[in-house]
Subunit: 117 residues, 2 copies
DNA sequence: CCAAGTATGTAGTATGTACTAAACACTAAA
DNA sequence: TTTAGTGTTTAGTACATACTACATACTTGG
C-alpha cells in the first residue's frame, strides 16, 4: 500500500482536476492547518497529522476515515476504546483473525449483523 | 475497573505477601526503571509507562499483557498492526462486536479457531 | 537502637508530536 | 506587468511522553 503522503497527494490532485477548490492552500484552509504543513505531509517531510486533523482531511477529500488513520499509523479512538474495554477477549479474536481472508471476516460481520449470535 | 496504578499496587502487594522480592525497589530494578518512577505510577502520580515497560511489568508480575496495556490506555502494537492492515474491514467488525456479550464473542473465537471458515 | 531496606518527594531532561509563521519562488490571467 | 493564486523552504514553538537522579523519611528485623 502507498504511504499516507503519496495517497493524499494523489487523491487531492485527482479531485483538483475538475475542481480548483482542491489546491493545497484551499484544502488546508478548510481543514484548519497551514498550507506549508499540508504540503510537507503530502511529501512525507512531516510525521502524519493527528487523528482530529486526519478526520477533517478524510471528510474534505471524501475518503474512508479508518483507512486514512491506518495510513497515518493510527487507529480510530472509538475502536481503541472498544478493545480496551475487553482487552484479553478482543486481543485473542483479532490475533486469530490475522490470517483469515477478507471474505471469511466479512462472513462473520454479516452473521453478527444478522443477529445469529 | 480499577485504574492502572491501583491495580499494579494491589497485585504487587499480593505477591509481596509471600515473597520479599516484590518490593517497589526490586521490581523496579528487574524491569529496568527507577523505584521512584514505579512508585509514582502505582499511586497515579505519573502517566502510564510505555508499552515496553508495561510488557516487562506484566511478565514480572505474571499478569496479562493486553489487560495491563488496556489499563494504561494502550493497545498492543501487534494488534494495532493487524487492524491497520485491513482498517475498514476490522473497523466494521469491531464496531459491530461492541454490544455483543462475552460469550457470543467467545463463540466466534472458537469457531474461527476450529477452522469453520 | 541502629542499620538495612523500604517508599516517596522534588527537580530536571531528552525525545517526540503536531503543528505555526513568515518568506520565497513560480505560473497564468487581466 | 502586476496581481492573484500556486506550492515550498526555513525556522521555530507549545505541549506531551517517558523517564532519571538524588535527597528525604519511614519501618522493621537483629
Amino acid at each position: 500500500m502507498a504511504d499516507l503522503g503519496t495517497y493524499l497527494r494523489q487523491k487531492r490532485e485527482t479531485l483538483r482536476a475538475d475542481d480548483p477548490r482542491y489546491s493545497v492552500r484551499q484544502v488546508a484552509a478548510r481543514i484548519g492547518v497551514q498550507p506549508s504543513y499540508l504540503s510537507k505531509v503530502e511529501r512525507g517531510h512531516e510525521a502524519p497529522p493527528s487523528e482530529a486533523t486526519l478526520r477533517r482531511l478524510a471528510e474534505d477529500l471524501d475518503e474512508n476515515v479508518d483507512m486514512l488513520l491506518a495510513l497515518g499509523g493510527k487507529i480510530s479512538s472509538d475502536l481503541a476504546q472498544i478493545i480496551r474495554q475487553r482487552p484479553a477477549l478482543f486481543a485473542e479474536l483479532i490475533r486469530d483473525l490475522r490470517d483469515l481472508p477478507d471474505h471469511a471476516v466479512l462472513r462473520i460481520v454479516r452473521e453478527v449483523r444478522d443477529g445469529n449470535w
